[in-house]
Symmetry: C2
Subunit: 353 residues, 2 copies
């Protein structure tokens, strides 16, 4: 007989995180990680950290980190929320801000975690297909809804939208909370953070995992009106008061204060991206105009899945999604110039050119 306690277990389809290899020799262009190390200033903070203090709980308000983020974006610390990676921040935001009977809306091609959070928190949702060119049609979002989430740039398409798009989106949605997910915005995108003064219902989220090379420390943030931030804090403090650990607070602070290193790394990635885009186009690929730290590419006369599999045997890992509309595309994270040269070399080998 089935024990009855098993009936009370949450039935949920496990989300399977992307594959991780232990092989140090692979060229890892599959997780949108940064090829450059974190800011030397952040490293210095970790090296010098007074480890005796680890016996204390972190500051629940993570103020040193919030202040540095506020400084970077020209807002007040009371406009900043921080969490354990932007997945934590977005999960809290979904729970805290999307409590309507109407569905929340987002593009059909986008970050795969959005429907997962909707399922977890019982939030109804609806998607609007992106266009043939993979761009988001802002006018789709005129319909009444329970909330809006737009990644800018979008993933895995790599396409970014400018301030006019966001302003139009906000004007169409005065009755909804709108989240702009800027995980990839530092690689040539335009941040919507300055608009929070104009739109009290706008929340902009970001992460230290991509542009700041700190995926291992788990730091995400949101910028919004004090109304929105207050609700995020209330929900977070009802779940776990100390989501960002002491080392992450201090190392994250040092990282975002080091603007010079940040700009240098982002520019290197942007330059490499432009070069690789051109080289792949010269090889006959269609490569979307990326504003992210990855590119999204296809080739009409190639089964790119085979190319993806081949590269894997050559220890070059890129990402393939077996999903409608994009099942002949690959997503390639921008690595160092050396890594991308190796990728291009293997690609040419495969194409026999």
């Amino acid at each position: 007989m089935e024990q009855s306690w098993k009936n009370n277990l949450r039935k949920i389809k496990p989300y399977v995180p992307g594959e991780q290899s232990k092989d140090k020799n692979i060229i890892k262009l599959n997780a949108n990680e940064n090829p450059y190390p974190p800011s030397p200033k952040a490293v210095e903070v970790i090296r010098a950290f007074d480890t005796d203090n680890l016996r204390f709980y972190p500051k629940a308000d993570a103020m040193p980190l919030k202040e540095a983020i506020a400084d970077f974006y020209g807002v007040k610390a009371s406009n900043v929320f921080v969490g354990n990676g932007s997945d934590d921040v977005l999960a809290v935001a979904f729970q805290a801000l999307f409590n309507s009977d109407l569905p929340i809306v987002y593009p059909d091609l986008t970050y795969s975690f959005y429907p997962v959070w909707c399922d977890l928190f019982n939030i109804p949702y609806k998607t609007y297909p992106v266009g043939e060119d993979f761009r988001i049609n802002v006018e789709d979002y005129a319909e009444k809804n329970g909330g809006v989430v737009i990644p800018n740039p979008n993933a895995p398409t790599s396409l970014g939208e400018g301030p006019d798009f966001v302003k139009r989106l906000m004007d169409l949605n005065p009755d909804s909370v709108v989240i702009i997910d800027e995980a990839y915005n530092d690689f040539g995108g335009v941040t919507s953070a300055p608009l929070i003064g104009t739109y009290e219902n706008l929340l902009v989220t970001g992460t230290f995992s991509k542009s700041r090379s700190l995926a291992g420390l788990r730091i995400g943030f949101a910028i919004g009106s004090e109304t929105l931030i207050g609700v995020l804090e209330a929900v977070k403090n009802s779940y776990n008061s100390y989501t960002v650990d002491s080392l992450s607070v201090e190392a994250g602070r040092a990282s975002i204060l080091d603007r010079e290193y940040f700009t240098e790394c982002c520019n290197k990635i942007i330059n490499t991206r432009q070069r690789v885009t051109q080289e792949m186009r010269a090889l006959g690929f269609t490569v979307l105009d990326s504003q992210a730290n990855f590119i999204f590419a296809t080739k009409d006369d190639m089964r790119v899945k085979d190319m993806f599999e081949y590269l894997k045997t050559r220890k070059v890992y890129i990402r393939y999604f077996n999903l409608p509309r994009i099942d002949n595309y690959v997503r390639i994270t921008i690595g160092t110039d050396e890594e991308m040269d190796a990728f291009l070399r293997e690609l040419k080998e495969y194409m026999e050119v």
Copy 2:
């Protein structure tokens, strides 16, 4: 006119974390933190950490940490779940395991976060009053319920229960998931972890924040059957795949592998606790028989709240709860011998003895 998006914000009473002082000179006996630094082995790992690797996401399965915890408790890594502090672990467990229409049950005097999680996840709950002696009456838990949570030792009472209590509790509850919250168990308590082989519906939770002096790194864990751990993993991976950061995984591993230092620190705290208990009893206090790293004390002819306030002016912070039944008790974290001598000195000063 109120904007309608405000109707969709989660209405929740913000939980207010305990007060934190920036004053380095206070004697901090109010947060049940450990007075001794973390294991030198954990510190070594932090110092030697290859910070270049922080650009990568942590291992989603946190296997090096799980394996070390499994080794300590004599279970398999597949019986271990880890999270961002035991608050995160318990929050995931409430969400994952308590989905009955019947109320979950726990003692009326206990960890203040249990009702907060119930409110957050819409879980009905019911409490059974502890006895006049503050002990939990296991026979109360014979009533049909949606789940059971028992902190062992209990907080803020400091009282622990032995294996007979837990076995009786399990025998009374074959149809419920039972969580034994062992946050304070390493200071003289008996762990129920070995019972998971017998009871598939038993989950034992623990933390590195107390006995392992790593509150700042946010590491909590749960030990249970593969059935229970599987559901925790599924819910956690639907929320945030990487809750424990790379540094915490490695430093936590080193910490739990260092049994010698752990035993030494716990024993020092136990010895100090026994001495302070005796000295306070000699001063006329009733001090419960603690199995935790804090003591719970009262004095019939004293308004202990006044004593608590006085000590604060003397920069000795202890904890007072303005709650029914315990509003003439104080909770005092066990610090170093020097800290406790200072506490006792100030206490005698206040009592003019």
